[in-house]
């Protein structure tokens, strides 16, 4: 039986395989290969082996930029993990409670920012937070916190955190929906049985609901990780490709943009950009690999 299924299986797989190979696998491999080449002044491309990587990691200026972007990226991811996902869990838990009035409306409203263009998000928040004509200072003054206001998007200490929180505000809807979907499929009998046994709502959440949605939480985290390490658009929309002030908001994505496309008088280099893209790929790959090896396996064991 199995052998006979051979060629039809191939036929059915072919469209996906061809499209995936042509638009995903091949460009990825070509990028990895391009990272091993160098470009000279007149645009000739030649093989340089690991030269680009050596420059990225051992040249003082390149490494300083790379390390800065990497550290910022880790902070960016940490803020998402510590703020976005717990808030999403809380919102999903509240929405999945029985008898919440207007749950559907809340769900829609909380999900809406995700659908907006990042340019609109960036522009709106820049206006809200503007020290010249933004509303945030007045609002803070109303509750007696006017003194706490600062030009958050313009200060080295606060710019990255502010942008990360804007990003959290925009994307919190996605993990919320995923977790919400996982919460509502938990069989009622299990919850009811626990209630009959005398478990409190709190206990039910911690001992029954949470373990059952752990695989989803894992998935949410890994999606956040991949998304954050590829992040670019919000920084570009709000702070431009130079990711100021003093590169305080520079992520791997913006560094890659400047390297690959160039910026102002800085010439872009496709080969150096490809090398940086390779490093980004390796960072993401190792993160995802670690997750699958260490966490996902254990989750399955608990779930089964």
């Amino acid at each position: 039986m199995r052998q006979k299924a051979g060629w039809p299986a191939l036929v059915f797989l072919a469209p996906a395989l061809v499209i995936y190979t042509a638009f995903s696998a091949w460009p990825l491999l070509a990028t990895l290969r391009l990272g091993l080449y160098g470009t000279d002044d007149v645009g000739h491309v030649s093989f340089v082996g690991l030269g680009n990587f050596a420059r990225l990691l051992f040249d003082e200026h390149w490494f300083a930029a790379f390390r800065n972007a990497m550290v910022n990226n880790i902070e960016f991811f940490a803020i998402h993990t510590l703020v976005q996902n717990p808030v999403a869990l809380l919102l999903a838990a509240l929405l999945s409670l029985r008898g919440v009035r207007g749950a559907a409306a809340y769900r829609t409203v909380l999900f809406l920012p995700t659908l907006l263009s990042v340019v609109i998000i960036g522009f709106t928040w820049q206006l809200i937070l503007s020290p010249l004509w933004g509303v945030s200072e007045k609002l803070l003054t109303l509750v007696g916190l006017g003194e706490q206001f600062g030009p958050w998007l313009g200060q080295e200490e606060t710019a990255l955190r502010t942008i990360a929180l804007i990003s959290v505000w925009q994307f919190v809807g996605i993990p919320m929906m995923l977790i919400y979907a996982a919460l509502i499929v938990i069989p009622e009998e299990v919850v009811e049985a626990a209630a009959v046994e005398g478990a409190s709502a709190w206990r039910i959440f911690w001992s029954i609901r949470l373990p059952l949605i752990l695989p989803t939480l894992g998935l949410v985290n890994i999606l956040t990780f991949v998304g954050n390490f590829n992040a670019f658009d919000l920084i570009y929309a709000v702070k431009g490709a130079l990711a100021g002030p003093n590169f305080a908001t520079d992520l791997l994505g913006t560094l890659f943009y400047r390297t690959f496309f160039g910026y102002q008088s800085e010439m872009g280099s496709a080969t150096m950009g490809a090398a940086l893209a390779t490093l980004m790929f390796l960072v993401i790959l190792s993160g995802v690999g670690l997750y699958f090896l260490v966490i996902q396996r254990r989750l399955q064991r608990i779930a089964s």
């Binding site: 002044d41 007149v42 645009g43 200026h61 820049q126 937070l129 503007s130 020290p131 010249l132 004509w133 600062g150 030009p151 958050w152 998007l153 313009g154 200060q155 080295e156 702070k239 431009g240 490709a241 130079l242 100021g244 002030p245 003093n246 590169f247 400047r258 496309f261 160039g262 910026y263 102002q264 008088s265 800085e266 010439m267 872009g268």
Partner: protein
């Protein structure tokens, strides 16, 4: 199936050929998205009137993407016939890669002084690849109403400059100076290279850096950052998050007395805001000092070597070099001044005032535009950052100078390379 497909394909191919071989149509690449109406309704009709056989299409790309988009289009062979040239290294790079036509010996080039042509020549000055179009001039604008109410005069020296700022600040009527550090480019291109030439003596200082006879850590450069470090008290609260758009809006709404500006801003403040304002050149250190201005060659035009219609492109380029264009462009694109030798009657009062500085002061270009920004790290990007951090109070003038000098010294060895 085949029988049906073939004629369709042939027809498509034929159509493609017709489109490609359509003589007399030129496509013009530019980053001046703001000028689209001007080109479509004034400049191009004027050209077509004189040269009825040639149609030119103006297809601009947004400024931040222009450099990368055009170089990608040139590399893939899909770029337009005429390329608007950024000054110095960006275009030089295109020329070196063989994308821009050599214009040596073109009689139209005689209409321009050497100082204008240098922005689109190879380092040795032998090859020219773009026709100079226009420059922009940097200085300050002041709100005439606020200055009038407080009895202030446009300053000529630094002492007067700070006295004016102090009086505005003391009056509490307006923000003394509108400037922010969020976008970063303005603190470098408008402020640093705008006020700096008075300190480093314009071309002398710039050429000394290129010749390796001066360093950024020398007093004439550090002094510019020291001057800028005095500005934060005069800026709006929260200027660290103020964008260039905010800066324009603040001055346009009459809430700021002074704004460091470029001549390209004239049209905005007049048309959009209807503001009554004047201009003054960057103040000199002591009364009687010679003055220098940043009169930066900004726009040129060249021909794509892969153009299928070079003959017509040359006709267009000759027109760009003509008096008619110089006159039209200077007066219609307010704030962009023709680089040609033709005497032009500038009608806009503020523009006329700014172009008048050319007679009183010596002109120079933006400090790092030639040669200095081609290395790694890119000095242009470094300057944006460093200048903003000096204004933010996060970097001392000395640290700024050291950072720029160390980045420059890393790749530039004037003994070895020209």
């Amino acid at each position: 199936m085949n029988a049906l497909l073939r004629p369709t394909a042939l027809a498509a191919l034929a159509l493609l050929c017709v489109a490609r071989a359509d003589a007399g149509t030129l496509t013009l690449e530019s980053w001046r998205t703001d000028d689209k109406t001007l080109w479509d309704t004034v400049l191009l009709p004027a050209f077509t009137k004189a040269h009825p056989g040639i149609t030119v299409k103006f297809t601009p790309t947004a400024p931040p993407e222009y450099n990368s988009v055009v170089s990608a289009r040139l590399a893939s062979g899909s770029a337009g016939d005429l390329i608007t040239c950024r000054p110095f290294d960006v275009s030089l790079d295109l020329y070196k890669k063989g994308h821009l036509e050599k214009l040596n010996g073109n009689p139209a080039l005689a209409n321009f002084p050497d100082s204008a042509k240098v922005a689109w020549q190879t380092d040795d000055g032998k090859d020219t690849y773009c026709v100079p179009m226009a420059s922009v001039i940097h200085g300050f604008f002041y709100n005439k109403k606020i200055f009038g109410e407080l009895g202030l005069k446009p300053p000529t020296t630094e002492a007067e400059f700070y006295a004016d700022l102090d009086k505005v600040k003391a009056s509490g009527k307006a923000t003394p100076m509108s400037l922010g550090t969020a976008d970063q480019w303005d603190t470098s291109q408008v402020v640093f290279t705008g006020i700096g030439p008075n300190y480093w003596k314009g071309e002398d200082g710039r050429k000394a850096l290129i010749a390796g006879k001066a360093k950024f850590t020398d007093p004439q450069f550090v002094a510019v950052w020291q001057d800028m470090a005095k500005w934060p008290p005069y800026l709006a609260k929260g200027f660290q998050a103020q964008t260039y758009g905010d800066t324009q809006t603040l001055f346009a709404s009459g809430k700021a007395a002074i704004v460091p500006a470029g001549s390209w801003d004239i049209a905005f403040y007049q048309k959009e805001a209807g503001l009554d304002f004047g201009a003054f050149a960057p103040p000199v250190q002591k009364a009687g000092d010679p003055c220098y201005i940043s009169d930066h060659a900004d726009i040129g035009m060249g021909i794509n070597t892969a153009s299928r219609n070079k003959a017509d492109a040359k006709v267009f380029l000759d027109w760009i070099a003509s008096k008619e264009f110089a006159d039209l462009y200077t007066n219609k694109a307010t704030g962009f001044f023709s680089l040609s030798k033709f005497p032009i009657d500038v009608q806009n009062p503020v523009a006329r005032q700014m172009v008048g500085w050319r007679l009183q002061c010596k002109s120079t270009i933006r400090l790092n535009a030639q040669i200095m920004s081609r290395g790694e790290p890119s000095m242009e990007n470094e300057l944006w950052n460093v200048n903003s951090q000096v204004l933010n109070g996060k970097m001392t003038p000395q640290q700024a100078a050291e950072r720029i000098q160390s980045g420059f010294a890393k790749w530039y060895h004037p003994g070895a390379a020209k």
